[in-house]
């Protein structure tokens, strides 16, 4: 069941998506963390970030909008308080890194590159819910190339994944830019910018006005973007977007994703990732597939 991404082996292709699984240990009493390939922790910045004012979330048809704004405890508290506890589990830890400026990204990347127990860094340049930084680097392929190349240099020891935004004209241009800049893998995709309005009060449902749409509502679009990305890059692609069950995960693997991340489903079904990991194993057994890698990209068009 294992898959290899940038030389790092994951026991199975199921990970949890950043921002939906806290720092992992918060779910330890509700599922077996050892049953999944890896945990991508909540986005980490060098210094703590307070986040956006509420309301921050709103449920929509088959999905939800969020505008959290990167609230996190900062890299020092993460590595001293959360990471040691997380390291005790038999699962890989991937750290999502966030920043407002290039300097922020480089500072936190250098800091984490020296830490033990991190399997990969996931560069978050695609969050739609902060006014500066982040998203800014995912508007033009040239900027994406620059931030990826420089961050890659700041992380000589730990593989660098780049998490891409779907809010672009053609995601393939950004995927190629990352590959050319030396990214080790791509996480596809982050949330879709959306909004909702309270018609009685004539106010936006979110204080930030817009937010990122996630959940099953985005799955078909995310799947198409993963498939497109896999056509143009050789580096591994990790599929994300509305994956809530085994069949969803299989669709992304068939489209070419080497691994998948479970996001919003963790909120309403805390053991969703474990159920999907078990389900993939059952699928392989019943279809007599000896190696899950045989499924990856095996879509017949």
């Amino acid at each position: 069941m294992s898959v290899t991404i940038a030389g790092v082996e994951f026991k199975n292709p199921v990970l949890t998506a950043s921002g939906t699984f806290a720092y992992g240990i918060e779910f330890a009493h509700l599922m077996d963390l050892n049953s999944i390939g890896g945990i991508v922790v909540k986005g980490i910045s060098m210094r703590p970030i307070k986040g956006n004012p509420p309301p921050r979330i709103y449920e929509t048809a088959s999905g939800m909008l969020n505008a959290i704004g990167w609230q996190n405890i900062g890299a020092v508290e993460f590595t001293t308080k959360k990471l040691p506890a997380l390291r005790k589990f038999q699962t890989r830890v991937v750290v999502n890194v966030v920043g407002f400026t290039l300097r922020d990204y480089l500072e936190v990347t250098r800091f984490l590159n020296d830490c033990r127990g991190i399997a990969a860094l996931e560069l978050n340049i695609s969050c739609p819910n902060v006014k500066h930084g982040g998203f800014h680097f995912n508007q033009k392929p040239k900027d994406t190339f620059d931030v990826t190349a420089k961050t890659k240099k700041a992380s000589p020891r730990i593989p660098l994944w780049v998490k891409l935004s779907p809010n672009v004209t053609d995601i393939r241009d950004f995927a190629r830019a990352c590959e050319d800049a030396g990214a080790d893998a791509l996480s596809v995709v982050n949330t879709f910018v959306g909004m909702a309005i309270d018609t009685v009060r004539r106010r936006p449902r979110l204080k930030y006005v817009t937010g990122g749409l996630s959940g099953p509502a985005i799955k078909p679009v995310a799947l198409r973007m993963v498939w497109e990305t896999c056509q143009v890059v050789k580096i591994p692609v990790i599929g994300i977007g509305g994956i809530a069950n085994t069949d969803d995960a299989l669709e992304f693997l068939l489209a070419g994703a080497r691994a998948i991340q479970v996001g919003t489903a963790n909120f309403y079904n805390p053991s969703a990732s474990q159920q999907i990991a078990d389900g993939l194993e059952r699928y392989c057994r019943s279809h007599e597939i000896p190696d899950i890698n045989q499924l990856v990209g095996s879509l017949r068009v």
Binding site: G19, T20, F21, A22, E26, F27, H29, L30, K42, K50, G51, P53, P54, P55, R56, I57, Y58, E59, A61, S62, G63, M64, N66, I68, Q71, G215, P216, A244, N245, T264, N266, F267, Y268, N269, P270, S271, A272
Partner: protein, 279 residues
């Protein structure tokens, strides 16, 4: 905290779109303290819409009449949207999912016995759900609860009989005057506080934001503590989504965002920024 598939034992309409749901869940009920909540998936299939679970205060713990064995818990549900609609349309025997009990409960200290004269319970509408187990716990500590309960109309003041059976002093208000005093619940509360200027009091409140804010201001004026049970839209109730925050102040009076699911739902009213409603 437990994630349980639970059976609906009973569903009782209370009028005014309010229902009392009894869930068979002895393990969760045994762990419940006053102020705790459970996070309910409104269907048996976890993948059905609406996706997100809904938080409900535990109103009461159910026991068998004879042996007193704990069998489950009651939640108060008001039909206000697609999630609560699904819940109130459930039939006896249907299964749903319950995650909990969880959150910070009301802080009941042992040294209050004999030192606290009154505990004022201030409820608005379905906010009453957070205060019944608390009333019980206070009585067992020999502290006298006094209930202040308000709503728009008489139909909003549900489950009054539970409190009346405890034999406690009650003050009811309604905005249209259909029950109790006409006006807001803070009217009898402020009168009571004026009548007891030197009493050792503590306020406990759950209800609409504006009502809790007014209760907080009365507590400040009286120089007494007030605990509030807050409401927010929750994504996960596990501290993961960071969606249910309220704006609050830390010890240095600096802005911070606290999660209602983990750092709440019960908080000291002084930590809350009452000028930033979370809904």
């Amino acid at each position: 905290m437990l994630d349980k598939r639970v059976r609906v034992r009973d569903i009782r309409p209370l009028g005014g779109h309010n229902y009392l749901l009894t869930l068979d869940s002895p393990e969760q009920a045994r762990r419940t303290q006053p102020g705790h909540f459970v996070m309910i998936k409104c269907s048996d299939d976890v993948q059905e819409n609406p996706l997100l679970r809904r938080p409900f205060s535990v109103f009461d713990i159910k026991r068998t009449p004879r042996s007193g064995r704990i069998t489950g818990l009651d939640i108060l549900v008001k039909d206000v949207g697609i999630g609560t609609r699904r819940l109130v349309e459930l039939q006896r025997g249907d299964q749903i999912h319950s995650l909990g009990p969880q959150g910070q409960p009301f802080r009941l200290q042992d040294d209050w016995r004999g030192r606290l004269d009154f505990a004022c319970l201030v409820a608005g509408g379905v906010g009453i759900a957070a205060l019944y187990l608390l009333a019980h716990a206070l009585i067992s500590k020999q502290i006298t609860p006094v209930l202040f309960y308000g709503g728009k109309t008489a139909a909003d003041l549900v489950l009054r009989d539970y409190f009346e059976q405890l034999g406690i002093e009650t003050h009811y208000t309604s905005e249209n005057g259909s029950i109790g005093e006409k006006g807001l619940v803070t009217l009898p509360l402020s009168r009571f506080l004026k009548q007891h200027p030197r009493s050792n009091l503590r306020l406990f409140s759950c209800g609409p934001w504006g009502m809790m804010k007014a209760t907080h201001e009365l507590a400040i004026r009286q120089g007494v503590d007030c605990e509030v049970s807050l409401e927010a839209r929750m994504g996960c109730s596990l501290g993961a989504c960071m969606g249910c925050v309220i704006r609050a102040w830390d010890q240095n009076n600096e802005e911070q965002y606290l999660r209602v699911c983990l750092e709440g739902p019960v908080m000291n009213s002084r930590t809350v920024d009452w000028n930033t409603p979370p809904l």
